[in-house]
Amino acid sequence: MVTTPLLPSDYLDLVSPLRAGADLRGRIEAVRPETGDAATIVIRPGRGWRGHTAGQYVRVGVDVDGVRLWRAYSVTSPTHRRDGRFTITVKAIRDGKVSNHLVRRAKPGTLIQLDQATGDFVLPRAKPAKVLYLTAGSGITPVMGMLRDSEFDDAVMVHCAPQPHDVIFREELHGLVAAGKLRLTEVHTATDGMLDVARLGELVPDWAERETWACGPAGLLDAAEEHWNGHGVPERLHTERFRPNVVVAGAGGEVTFSTTGKSVDADGATPLLDVGEDAGVLMPSGCRMGICFGCVTPLKAGAVRDLRTGEITEAEPGVLIQTCVSAAAGPCDIER
């Protein structure tokens, strides 16, 4: 009653955005380069942060050029850091809006949005006797979270990166090797070629006895799953895929209206508002020319094209589209 139509929290956010009870946010405290294209971001989370388990990831909402984009990154710091901070390590990928922003432009002091840590790419409660980490590129990040968190009597890592200087955390890994805590094989794909998982036995003869955590590009994980399945030990393999849904933007596609359960084929030129109405879905509508924002609807999956500008919008949690000026750019799911 005191602050209507706002909430008291809207005012409190002005002075204390990280307080208990606020929406979960974090403040970037430092950005530390790891390699030429990777950096570790130190984040002070808000009071509502419930911590993480080694190997889990966290979704972060970062404003890039004024647009809030959400991405998931593995937590690379050990659990229960004394200072309450945690870190994510980000590798800038080509055309990656968020990763390039975080690695090259993010400034300490910036507020970001957070979700609680999640994911089941974690170690079991009972420590396995023998462990294998099979990683490539930034796939090392969740594993680093594990390595920093707990020690194993017998841990082996096979890590692939183009060249030695591309190996994230290289110094620290060699430190572990020197201390006898890890056996490491680096595969430098620029000179050695891609790792052939079928010949993993040459590098790690007892691989089948090891509890394995694998993280890296889809090709590596597919090959690993095939290999472990083929040898009848699929339960020993735990994988983590970073980008399960790659959206291919084309012209038109199957449009699913998930709330009503209708699916229709749409071309790349018909507004989704018309597509929905023709399919008998009750669509909110307004001016039908893109000015009134009366038709905005969540895009749950896929991609759409703005018929005025040609701009492609991909589904992300919280993305709403104007159905009267958007057409299907490939299969998509509209929440109606």
């Binding site: 009653m1 005191v2 602050t3 209507t4 139509p5 706002l6 809207d10 005012y11 002005l14 404003d63 050029d65 004024g66 647009v67 809030r68 984009l69 307004g286 001016c287 020319m289 893109g290 000015i291 009134c292 924002f293 009366g294 905005v296 005025r308 500008t309 992300e316 919280g318 993305v319 709403l320 104007q322």
Partner: protein, 372 residues
């Protein structure tokens, strides 16, 4: 609808070319929209909230006249900022591209008795789509005034200067009633429609909350300053209402602004739609502070052309739009606030009296105007 069509010298091709040129202006802004714009709206929202907090804090001591004056002035400005530069523009979807769920047309609510959702329908959809089309755009006279010589005069219109003044003082209530289409919906039959009743209840809830906040909770919190605080919030609401009413009157009422017939928009092309927005709107000239306090509705012409572009960009867009007006030899109606307010009020007075019948013979036209 005026005797001389000020766009008669344009060919159909020219009008479409004009449309393409305007599209290009729009695309340019969209392509360059970014971090600075986002920082702008966040800064304005934060400033508004701080100003409101401080003003309300000062009003706790409003028993002391200087505190009353200071607090009332601050609260008036805060309420104007909330409604104009922030609320109006966010509810237009101008900031939806930021994907910030807290600054989004689907979630924003404003310090106003009309619920955001209802206002969005009557304003964004009806007014902005059918700008100045008599019988379709009820913003023309809000259904209580005669705003064009061609509209049929009725003795009721004699009182329109008074209605307009009362509407200015209680503008937010006028808007709420207007969004509810109260005049039409109070008929016996429509009154009972469940849809109307749900919307009326939503307005009732909003009014209750707003009134409780402004006239009960904050005065009570002020203790011995109860009455002065009550007077202060009333004054702030009055100032905000008269200010926004004045600004909005300047948008479409001043002399020189065109209105259109219902039939004229059948099969309207994109170029023609743009042209109607250009001829149906008027600007207010002035300083940066002036533009800010009007929520950049001083750039009404640019706003009507591009209602979803961020308001902080209208000033730069205006330069290019004005050049197009010159290129196509069209009149860019603009002037300082006092001049435009005077012009609008003069029209309200003038049209409260009957005028000579317009030289139009088509019988269906007459019916249409009566219906309007």
């Amino acid at each position: 609808m005026t005797a001389i069509d000020p766009t008669a010298h344009l060919t159909a091709e020219q009008i479409e070319e004009l449309g393409r040129e305007l599209d290009a202006i729009r695309d340019e802004v969209i392509a360059s929209r970014g971090e600075q714009d986002a920082a702008y709206i966040r800064k304005v929202i934060a400033a508004q909230r701080k100003l409101e907090l401080v003003s309300r804090g000062v009003l706790l001591f409003s028993i002391f006249p200087p505190a009353w004056v200071l607090g009332t002035a601050g609260l008036s400005v805060a309420k104007i900022m909330d409604n104009m530069e922030i609320g109006h523009n966010i509810l237009h979807g101008q900031w939806d591209w930021m994907r910030d769920p807290k600054i989004h047309s689907t979630t924003w609510e404003w310090d106003h008795v009309s619920p955001a959702a209802q206002w969005k329908h009557s304003h964004n959809e009806l007014h902005h789509t059918y700008t100045n089309v008599i019988g379709k755009d009820n913003d023309l006279g809000y259904g209580i005034m005669r705003v064009d010589e061609d509209q049929k005069w009725h003795p009721f219109h004699l009182g329109q200067p008074l209605w307009n003044f009362v509407n200015a003082c209680f503008f937010e209530y006028g808007i709420a009633a207007y969004d509810l289409e109260l005049g039409r919906n109070l008929s016996k039959h429509r009154r009972k429609s469940p849809e109307f009743r749900a919307r009326a209840r939503a307005v009732g809830r909003k009014i209750r909350k707003q009134v409780l906040k402004d006239y009960v909770v904050h005065p009570l919190l002020s203790g011995p300053s109860f009455l002065p605080t009550l007077a202060a919030t009333f004054t702030a609401n009055l100032v905000r209402n008269i200010w926004s009413h004045s600004v909005i009157m300047c948008g479409h009422f001043p002399e020189g602004v065109q209105v259109f017939e219902r039939r004229s928009i059948n099969g309207e092309t994109r170029g023609q739609w743009y042209l109607r927005q250009m001829m149906g709107s008027a600007n207010i000239s002035g300083s940066k502070a002036m533009h800010f306090m009007t929520g950049n509705l001083s750039h009404q012409i640019e706003h009507h052309l591009f209602p979803d572009l961020p308001s902080n960009r209208y000033a730069e867009v205006a330069v290019k739009v004005r050049a197009l007006f010159e290129k196509y030899e069209l009149e860019y109606v603009t002037g300082p606030l006092p001049k435009q307010v005077y012009s609008a009020w003069r029209k309200v007075f003038r049209l409260s009296l009957p005028n000579r019948k317009p030289h139009v013979k088509a019988p269906e036209r007459e019916r249409e105007l009566v219906a309007a």
